[in-house]
């Protein structure tokens, strides 16, 4: 399997290299769908210039990346294109290995369950075969590397690609069972953009499951491991933040990065839901609605963790998707990360209900974003409402996509325990409804 992956990497790098050299790169660099105020390359360059002048990069209101990132590019700025290509490749390989590991686990569990005869007799067609699972990791890598969203994001040199790489490595370490590395990488991802904080729950659930520790609040072993993992996580977060402080010599970056993420002062249009809403809002409601919008991102962790506590990897997917839909400055690079997971759930397709509608909506929206932007900004004939309408539709499509996968996953699990052909009490064919 290494050969196809290598080929894929070569193809992906070639596409990116060609685009970097073409005149399109300039154009992509400016697209609001691809870069946000947080991760725009122009802003990184600005921050670097300030740093070189001996001024704090956060002294203007332009630069909002974390200190570690700017020090990384302080040394690598001449090789930025290569760094971004490597980051994409790294993400793809990490996702490839993670899904491979995950599939092995799934298959082993399925085998044990089969041997202990736990599945109802009519569910055999739902079981997954190694033949079907064989190409899934490659497809995941392909979905990430050849996704136009990822390519655009990489060509725009949006630092989102690096954040994706960190999250992908975190997933890999988690699935490989290394609590230490997982905690450190999760801390790094949190440090980069706060929102991955919600991935703490699925990672913890995964380790507990792996170590056969039941999720029971009265058991000391549960608390012991939770505290241990939390300690690794918080400890590395403190170390990383402290390191940033010592690199920079001031705490400027806290309000400038995290304050910026939370209070959403920059209302440049993007594919998210925040900008229009807060541009239209009266000033004295702002604080309240910011709280509502931000809590919204984190809130789903609790119900989802309860519902999916047996399926932490699917929970990770759900969390990443929710973050990329509801975060304050989303870009298409974020969308690409969770879309890469879709082939891993390809066995759910018979339970998906709106996938066709959703793919049409997402496709149409991707084409309409630049068109309406042109009409609004260049032609002057449309206005921001047109663009926001498409943003809303795009997010509607994403939410529908995620909830569809959620429903399909739960439904398959339900069938695996209760049999495929459900009967009502009176013997007629029953249908499952998600309520």
């Amino acid at each position: 399997m290494a050969a196809p992956l290598t080929l894929l990497l070569i193809v992906a790098v070639t596409i990116r290299a060609v685009l970097f050299r073409s005149s399109l790169a300039e154009l992509i660099l400016e697209r609001v769908e691809v870069v946000s105020p947080l991760n725009a390359w122009k802003r990184v360059v600005e921050g670097l210039a300030l740093l070189d002048l001996g001024v704090s990069p956060y002294s203007g209101d332009v630069f909002h990346e974390t200190p570690l990132m700017i020090y990384l590019f302080h040394f690598m700025v001449d090789y930025a294109e290569i760094v971004f290509m490597i980051a994409d490749g790294l993400t793809a390989v990490a996702l490839y290995l993670s899904i491979q590991t995950y599939n092995k686990n799934v298959f082993r569990k399925q085998k044990y369950a089969l041997e202990s005869d736990r599945y109802p007799a009519d569910c055999l067609e739902l079981l997954r075969s190694p033949k079907e699972m064989f190409y899934i990791p490659l497809k995941v890598a392909m979905f990430y590397l050849l996704n136009p969203f990822t390519i655009l994001s990489c060509v725009a040199k949006s630092t989102c690609g690096l954040n994706n790489a960190i999250i992908a490595l975190f997933i890999l370490c988690t699935l490989k069972g290394s609590a230490l590395l997982s905690g450190i990488l999760l801390a790094l991802a949190t440090y980069q953009s706060i929102y991955p904080l919600t991935l703490f729950a699925p990672a913890l659930l995964f380790f507990l499951q792996r170590l056969y520790i039941p999720v029971n609040l009265r058991r000391s072993s549960f608390w012991f491991f939770t505290l241990q993992y939390a300690f690794i996580y918080v400890g590395s977060l403190v170390v990383i933040t402290g390191l940033s402080f010592f690199l920079l010599g001031s705490w400027d970056f806290i309000p400038s990065v995290y304050g910026f993420i939370f209070s959403v002062p920059d209302l440049t249009p993007n594919i998210g839901l925040f900008w229009y809403f807060f541009a239209e809002m009266f000033e004295h409601f702002r604080l309240f609605f910011i709280c509502v919008f931000q809590i919204n991102v984190f809130f789903y962790t609790i119900p989802l963790s309860i519902k999916l506590k047996e399926h932490p990897v699917f929970l990770i997917f759900m969390q990443i998707a929710i973050i990329s839909i509801f975060k304050s400055y989303p870009t298409v690079g974020d969308v690409a990360l969770y879309m890469a997971f879709l082939p891993a759930w390809s066995h759910l397709y018979r339970f998906l209900r709106n996938i066709f509608l959703v793919s049409c909506v997402l496709l149409a929206c991707s084409a309409l974003f630049p068109v309406l932007w042109h009409l609004w900004i260049y032609a002057g004939s449309a206005n921001s409402n047109f663009y926001y309408a498409i943003t809303l539709l795009f997010n509607f499509g994403q939410i529908l996509l995620v909830s569809d996968y959620f429903y399909a996953y739960l439904r398959r699990e339900h069938h695996l325990t209760h049999g495929l052909y459900l009967k009502k009490k009176d013997g007629t064919e029953a249908t499952l409804v998600l309520k």
């Binding site: 190409y135 996938i355 149409a364 084409a367 009409l375 002057g380 409804v433």
Partner: protein, 608 residues
């Protein structure tokens, strides 16, 4: 969410859609056509009204009276033009300076990709002359532009004369709050393009021009004047700009309001307004006017010098004087007063024109159809495509089974025709202009003919190419293969037409009317010869041909078939030239997207 999550209701809906698919599609198509034709019916349209407060409520008084002087200036200009054999730059500079303007010139040159046979030009070299009247009452951050093209021959002298007379008159007024730029541009659109690019420091079309020495504020609005006789019977307003962009409707309202006030006959598309909307003739007249607007907008070229301003976010319109066979004639002074009134109202603007509509169709000057009314006509056509996508019930599963097949030949069978169609499209886009020298060497044709005929040849060759190669590459096509290809092509067409209709409604609608019926019903199991003929007759090139004939019919200059064919060829060459010179997007759109998309359906027909 009931419909989306309740499986029973979903099933009922899907069943209904599958069973009644063909009738629903037919009804949608007819409804779209009827809706569109109904747009011209007066009770369904809205009366135009002035939205901009700054132009509506304020009164201005027009006092311009130097019509005689304008005519004598026009004669003088004519004499100098004939003497100089082109733009009399020195005379113009002197004339403008004598009227107290700050005068500057700009020279430009442009080599066309191939000779323009309509206007007989190839290497274009010219000079623009413009004078700036500085605003006495404001900080000079904003400007208005009045332009008159310096055309070859006898035409447009009166426009330049009136421009100069207006400059002299305006110079003596004290109420200007915006700089006024008087521009005389040579070589119509090319000169205009050079001046606009110079003014905004851009270079998007590869024009060579000298930088502008003098500049006023940001331009708020522009009027282009075309006047070729001493007296006129009516004034025609031209709005259609590059890529089908239209100026804010308030500009048209302003023109209409002043025509009413001064008792000037005004037309749009050269058609007078009729009052008998409830008779058949009245309706036909309005429908013809609207159809003319749709056709003009669809072809995406700039129909007057104003069209290039729109790209820079400047509201602009052309006003053309027409000398017809009516008894009631107006002199130049009246037109001068009309312009004075319009410029004074524009001078009152506090912000750019933005209150009124940007998306509209005009069945007459006093009535308009806004985007909310005409979009459903297109929406009904788009719905057909989406319905057909969902029709062969198993499409969804087909799609998935293809993506699930491990070795992926399913994807490959679709990918090959898609790639080949698009390569043909790229050839159609690039080769005609680049191969002209070779074509001229080998065939006894002129450069222009070579370009157009190469385009036609590639277009025709594309019909033969894809399905053969596809069979060679992937052997026998499967039943599933064409379904997936059709699904892809339908989605592609829907998105493509949707985006086009948003930017240029007319183009999107015209393409949809011809492309939708045949593409929606295409399968490989239809009688080959008959459906191939239908497909060719409804292909993009034939759409252009029909548009040429309909346009000629509507402007009451019907042409014979051979003349129509010559016109069709010249339309293609003009389209390619417009793309190269001003960046019109219709030619690349048709060559790179619409034609390949149509080829995919052609491919389905010959799937085996």
């Amino acid at each position: 969410m009931g419909l989306l999550s309740d499986p029973n209701r979903r099933k009922a809906l899907t069943n209904l859609l599958t069973r009644l698919n063909a009738p629903i599609c037919m009804v949608c198509y007819l409804a779209a056509i009827v809706w569109f034709m109904g747009l011209a019916f007066e009770p369904f349209t809205l009366r135009t009204y002035m939205s901009e407060n700054a132009m509506g409520s304020t009164m201005v008084e027009e006092r311009f009276s130097s019509g005689e002087r304008a005519l004598s200036l026009a004669k003088e200009f004519d004499a100098h033009k004939t003497k100089a054999g082109g733009m009399p730059v020195e005379w113009l500079v002197k004339a403008m300076q004598a009227r107290g303007l700050e005068v500057f010139t700009q020279s430009f040159s442009r080599k066309l990709p191939f000779p323009d046979e309509n206007k007989e030009r190839y290497m274009v070299r010219g000079t623009n002359v413009y004078g700036i009247l500085r605003a006495p009452r404001a900080p000079r951050t904003e400007a208005l532009v009045i332009t008159a093209p310096c055309s070859p021959g006898n035409s447009n002298n009166q426009a330049v004369g009136l421009l100069l007379a207006l400059a002299q008159y305006f110079r003596n007024q004290i109420f200007w709050a915006k700089d006024i730029i008087f521009l005389v541009n040579e070589h119509d659109l090319i000169g205009m393009q050079a001046w606009l690019e110079g003014y905004h420091h851009t270079n998007i079309t590869g024009m060579e021009y000298s930088p502008l020495q003098g500049r006023a504020g940001s331009i708020q609005a522009a009027l282009s004047l075309e006047l070729s006789s001493d007296v006129i019977t009516s004034l025609d307003l031209i709005l259609e700009g590059l890529n089908g962009q239209l100026p804010n409707l308030d500009l048209a309202n302003l023109f209409y309001a002043f025509c009413q006030k001064l008792g000037v006959l005004c037309t749009i598309q050269g058609k007078l307004q009729r009052n008998d909307w409830d008779t058949a003739e009245g309706y036909t007249h309005a429908a013809q006017t609207m159809m003319l607007m749709v056709l003009k907008q669809a072809c995406g070229r700039s129909w007057g010098d104003h069209g290039l301003f729109l790209r820079y976010h400047i509201e602009a319109a052309s006003i053309r004087g027409i000398n017809g066979f009516r008894h009631y004639k107006m002199d130049v002074a009246t037109i001068g007063r009309l312009l004075e009134g319009m410029v004074r109202k524009l001078n009152n603007l506090l912000e750019r024109l933005h209150q009124s509509y940007f998306f509209y169709l005009l069945p007459s000057l006093s009535r308009f159809v806004s985007i909310g009314y005409y979009m459903p006509a297109f929406g009904l056509l788009a719905v057909i495509l989406l319905l057909r996508v969902s029709f062969p019930g198993l499409m969804l599963h087909v799609c998935f089974s293809v993506s699930l097949q491990p070795s992926g030949p399913g994807v490959l069978t679709v990918l090959t025709p898609v790639v080949i169609s698009h390569l043909t499209g790229v050839a159609l886009y690039l080769l005609p202009v680049h191969l002209q020298e070779m074509a001229v060497e080998h065939f006894p044709v002129s450069e222009t003919e070579a370009v157009v005929l190469t385009a036609v040849a590639i277009y025709t060759a594309g019909l033969a190419l894809p399905h053969n190669t596809q069979r060679l590459l992937s052997g026998e096509g499967t039943e599933q293969g064409w379904k997936v290809l059709k699904l892809t092509a339908l989605l592609y067409l829907a998105v493509l037409l949707g985006c086009t209709a948003l930017i240029n409604f007319s183009l999107g609608f015209v393409l949809a009317v011809t492309l939708v019926p045949i593409t929606a019903s295409m399968t490989p199991h239809m009688p080959k010869a008959l459906s191939a003929l239908a497909m060719v007759l409804l292909s993009p090139a034939f759409t252009i041909l029909y548009c040429v004939f309909i346009y000629q019919e509507l402007i009451e200059a019907p042409v014979s078939v051979s003349e129509g064919w010559m016109l069709f060829l010249s339309v293609i060459s003009q389209g390619i030239l417009d793309h190269a010179l001003y960046g019109s997007l219709v030619y690349p759109l048709l060559a790179l997207f619409v034609y390949p998309c149509w080829l995919m359906f052609w491919n389905i027909l010959f799937w085996s």
